[in-house]
Assembly symmetry: D2
Homo-oligomer: 119 residues x 4
Amino acid sequence: MTELTERVRTFAQEREWEQFHTPKNLAMALAGEVGELLAELQWLTPEQSAAVMADEEIGPRVRAEIGDVTIYLTRLADVLGIDLVEAALDKLEDSGRRYTVEAARNSAVKIKGHHPPGA
Amino acid sequence: MTELTERVRTFAQEREWEQFHTPKNLAMALAGEVGELLAELQWLTPEQSAAVMADEEIGPRVRAEIGDVTIYLTRLADVLGIDLVEAALDKLEDSGRRYTVEAARNSAVKIKGHHPPGA
Amino acid sequence: MTELTERVRTFAQEREWEQFHTPKNLAMALAGEVGELLAELQWLTPEQSAAVMADEEIGPRVRAEIGDVTIYLTRLADVLGIDLVEAALDKLEDSGRRYTVEAARNSAVKIKGHHPPGA
Amino acid sequence: MTELTERVRTFAQEREWEQFHTPKNLAMALAGEVGELLAELQWLTPEQSAAVMADEEIGPRVRAEIGDVTIYLTRLADVLGIDLVEAALDKLEDSGRRYTVEAARNSAVKIKGHHPPGA
C-alpha cells in the first residue's frame, strides 16, 4: 500500500497535476470512477454480477475500474494525510460495537433477504 | 492490506451478511459511502477542503467516511477475486502510456487550471 | 417544472445559500443525494426493489430521496441556465438515433438478460 | 414533465428494456450518469464551473449529461409511481421547516463560507 501511495504521488508530481489534486476535486474524481464501475454492473442480475470476472469482455473492464477507484482513493488519502488501512480498521472496530454478531444474525434471519444495516 | 481483507471478510461472515454481498450490491454500497464523503466536502472551497483534516468536527468524519469507502472497496475486490494494489498498479502503468509526462506538462501549462485528462 | 425551479431558487435566496451554489458544489450535492438513494436500495433483491414503494418504512424514505435528488438537479439546471426537459428530450432523440428499435430488440433477445447499451 | 415521462417510457418499451428497468438497476444507472457529470466538473475551479456553459467544448457535454441524469431520474420515478415535482415540493416544504430562513442566514453569516446544512 505504501508503495502504491508513492507511485501515485510520483505520477501526479511528474505531470504537475498536484495543483488539481485538492481533496474536493479528488473526491469528485473518486465518485466519477465509482460511477463507471456501477455502469459496468447496472444491468446485470445479482447472479451475473457474481460471475462477472469470468466474462472475457466485462471482467477486465471491471478490474480496470477497480484499479481507477483504488488510485483515486489512495491519492485522496495521501493528500489528506490519512492511512487507508488504519482508517478502515478503526471504522470496522467501531461498526463491530454498533452491530454485534448476535444482533446482526437475528436480524438477517428475521428479515430473510431484507436489507441489513450497513457495515 | 491482506490483513484488512481478512478482517472485513470475517466481519461479514460472522454476521451472515455474505448473502447480501454480491458485486452489484457492494458496488452500490461503495457508491453510497462515496456519496457520504462528497457530502462532507460539497460546500467547502478548494482551500477549506485542503485544510479539512485540521477541523475538529469535520476531520474525524472525513476519516471515518474514507474508512467506510475502503472497507467496501476491499470487500468488493475480495468477492471479485481482485488484488486491489495490483489492479491499481496495472492501471497506473496503462495511464502512464496514455498520458506521457511531457504531454501532460504541456497541457497543464497551456490550460492553466483548466481540466487535465483524468489520471 | 417552472414552478419548482422558482420555488427552489427562492428557497436558496432566502437562506443566502447562493454563495455555495456553484455548479461544482451542486453536482457534488446531487451525487450525495443519489448516494443516499442507493443506500436505500443496495441490499434489496431486484424483486424487493420493484415492490419498495409498498413498504411502509422504506417507501417514504425512497420518495424523500427522490425529492432531494430532484431539488438539486433542478437547482443545478437553473444555475447552469439549462431547461431540464429540453435537455432530456434532446438527449433522448440523440439516443434514439444511436440505438434503433430494431438493433436494441435484437440485442435484448440475443443477450437474454445480459447488459444492454445504456439509454 | 408528463410528456417526458411518457416519451422515456415508450423509448424503453420499444426497445424491450423494461426487463432491465428495476428501481435498483435504474438507481445505479442514475448514479453512473451523475458520475459522468462529476467527471466534467471535477478539475474546474468554482469560478470555471460557474462559466462552464460558455465553454464550446464542455458546455454541450454538461448539458448532455444533465439530459441523461434527467432521463434516468424520470424513468426511475415512473417505475416507482412517484411524481417527481410533488416529491420535490413536499421535501422542500419539509426542509423549510427544518432550516428556517432566520437560522440559515445566521449560520451563513457566522460560518462565512463554511458548509451550511444541506437543503
